[in-house]
């Protein structure tokens, strides 16, 4: 084996030009589209037709656009959850479980256990759901700060554990007795449902709540001490500690915020869209949130755009695969490619690879 190999190293570019800063990410996008065309061709379909069908299915009609926004709603929440955590280098890969924690609490409180009018009941459920999600991430965060246990693995494994717990709840204590044997919870009472944004419009207030959350997270990150501390911990935890930032406390606060945001995705899906909890509530929104957050470069406002883009690809691919003979998994494949190429493009705006 050649252990000597080519001698390459990264050299920092002091002041990257605008053409470099815009050109490389644009190139990544173009490459992703080219790969999409190639994948469609592999499936034996006409590449341009397939691309057109995806765009059309995502945004070609009012119905398609609303479907995309509905799909984007949970992704904004999980994307924010990941963005907040990753910024502090808290690798929360457990948004999937935290989402379900929010959904479970929504069902617990929203199926008649508490009788309150909607303006009181909804904030109560939101608060409790966020606490549940936060509690679920607090465990791994404490293990990280106290014992140095890597949170990537613990949060990942908790996803499996919590999903089994939800499966137990839906087949046991939380099962709808009228559910014809399906593992499904009872439906929420009307006061616990999120209303639609406008009469006759198939879009619920979960989307509005997601936008509000994005704004709040942006304010926290840009305008508060906590936001500053989160950035400092993420950039260099050792230096931050030296400068007097309470690193562990900041990580725990971040975990609280991140877990809470992910839980809102579960709340919004149950209270806004589905009305009940089933085991297929989330087709991996927690994991997709990682892609959403990375494509948004961890910026909370960009998360909204990125979530809509990602949701569009999924909705578009679903609709396309019904019309053309191309598997809907093309969406996941494209997102993975986009993610890897985009991270590479962003890195290379600030560096160049040189010999020597």
């Amino acid at each position: 084996m050649a252990m000597t190999g080519p001698a390459m190293r990264l050299e920092r570019i002091i002041a990257p030009s605008w053409s470099r800063r815009l050109g490389l990410p644009a190139l990544a996008l173009v490459a992703t589209v080219a790969i999409a065309a190639w994948l469609a061709w592999l499936a034996g379909a006409a590449p341009l037709t397939v691309l057109g069908l995806i765009v059309d299915g995502a945004a070609g009609s009012k119905f398609a656009l609303l479907e995309t926004l509905n799909r984007a709603t949970p992704l904004i929440f999980t994307g924010l959850a990941v963005a907040v955590a990753f910024r502090a280098r808290l690798w929360n890969i457990g948004a999937e479980a935290q989402l379900y924690a929010g959904a479970v609490v929504t069902v617990l409180l929203g199926t008649g256990a508490i009788v309150l009018p909607a303006p009181l009941l909804l904030p109560l459920i939101v608060g409790a759901a966020m606490l549940a999600g936060a509690a679920l991430l607090l465990g791994p965060a404490l293990l990280k700060t106290r014992l140095g246990v890597d949170e990537v693995v613990t949060t990942l494994l908790l996803n499996f554990i919590f999903l089994l717990f939800v499966s137990y709840l839906l087949e046991g204590p939380m099962k709808d007795p009228m559910g014809m044997g399906w593992p499904k919870s009872e439906r929420l009472v009307d006061a616990a449902r999120l209303p639609r944004i406008a009469e006759g419009l198939r879009l619920h207030w979960g989307f509005g709540l997601a936008l509000i959350c994005a704004a709040i997270v942006w304010v926290i990150q840009a305008r508060t001490t906590l936001g500053y501390e989160i950035r400092a911990v993420g950039l260099n935890a050792r230096a931050a500690r030296f400068a007097g930032v309470p690193v562990n406390a900041v990580i725990l606060k971040t975990a609280f915020l991140s877990g809470g945001l992910a839980a809102l995705a579960g709340f919004s899906e149950v209270a806004g869209l589905k009305g009940a909890l089933t085991l297929d509530l989330s087709p991996g929104f927690g994991y997709t949130g990682i892609v959403v957050a990375m494509l948004a470069l961890l910026h909370p406002l960009a998360v909204v755009v990125s979530a809509i883009f990602v949701a569009g690809i999924f909705v578009g691919a679903d609709s396309m695969s019904r019309a053309a003979d191309v598997p809907t998994y093309i969406a996941d494949l494209l997102l993975a490619v986009a993610l890897l190429l985009m991270v590479l493009a962003i890195k290379m705006t600030g560096f160049r690879l040189v010999r020597g």
Binding site: G5, V153, L156, L157, I161, L164, A336, L339
Partner: protein, 315 residues
Amino acid sequence: MEALLDILLAGSFWAAAVRIASPLIFATMGELICERAGVLNLGIEGIMVAGAFAGWMAVYSGLGLWPGVAVALGVGMAFGLIHGVLTVPFGLSQHVVGLGVTLLATAATYYTYRLALPEVTAPPRIAPLAPLPIPILSDLPLIGPALFAQTPLTYLAFGCVLAVSLILYRTPLGLAVRAAGENPGAVEAQGLSVTAIRIGAVMAGSGLMAVGGAFLTMSAFDSFFFEMVNGRGWICIALVVFGAWKPGKALLGALLFAGFDALQIRLQQTPLGADLPYQLFLALPYVLSILALVAMSRRAQVPAALMVPFNRGER
């Protein structure tokens, strides 16, 4: 209690434990090689999925069983190359790229599956590797069925642990790999390329992960299902930590873990198991993995340069 004793005294239990351990052993050795060279490989879960599919698909398309294993190995190495190039010379976040590679490998597998088999509702079966009992030894009580009546791929898994230990601790190549994970600057000072060593280690490790995946479709079962890897990759990452980055201890961890897994399956069928929700048993392996991480956290000897990108001429 008596039920427990019955389980532990049955040869089938020990055979099952070793069978369950086999894919974990391959993938854990793979992850261990990557991490010893200084690269965390979170692509493991997806690479196992790709390996499971590639090996099975190759055999289904008419290749022999061993060529099928080779195909899985090659596919794993290809994904390893992607992970290695992005994280080593380009120095991208190993967390983000690893998760990206898992997503890429999984999605590519599902896409290819649907393209290759568009019409099927139930995935077709292949004739998997058959058990190869070793004369005389396989007749030993308990140990016989466990260690000497398995498929050749299981024997290969144990051989792989031996090979990895020998290479890591007894060869110049192994020294270079370990040094790349502990003190990459010293490796460069010797005139060796950290980049080449790390990419090579990630490719070799990823190949083993894929063979671990292929064990599922070509030895443990005879067919490919979505979700069949089901978190095994993440468990292997925990096993590397549990084994303190040493092949022998990691093997022990994999066997211990698989023993518990085989036990929970059997406990489900006892009167006690009938009273408890089955999800509790299914969650046990994941809970154990977390507990193992916690128990080992104090004593862990993490490779010093794990997750630290190396850039020549930079301090």
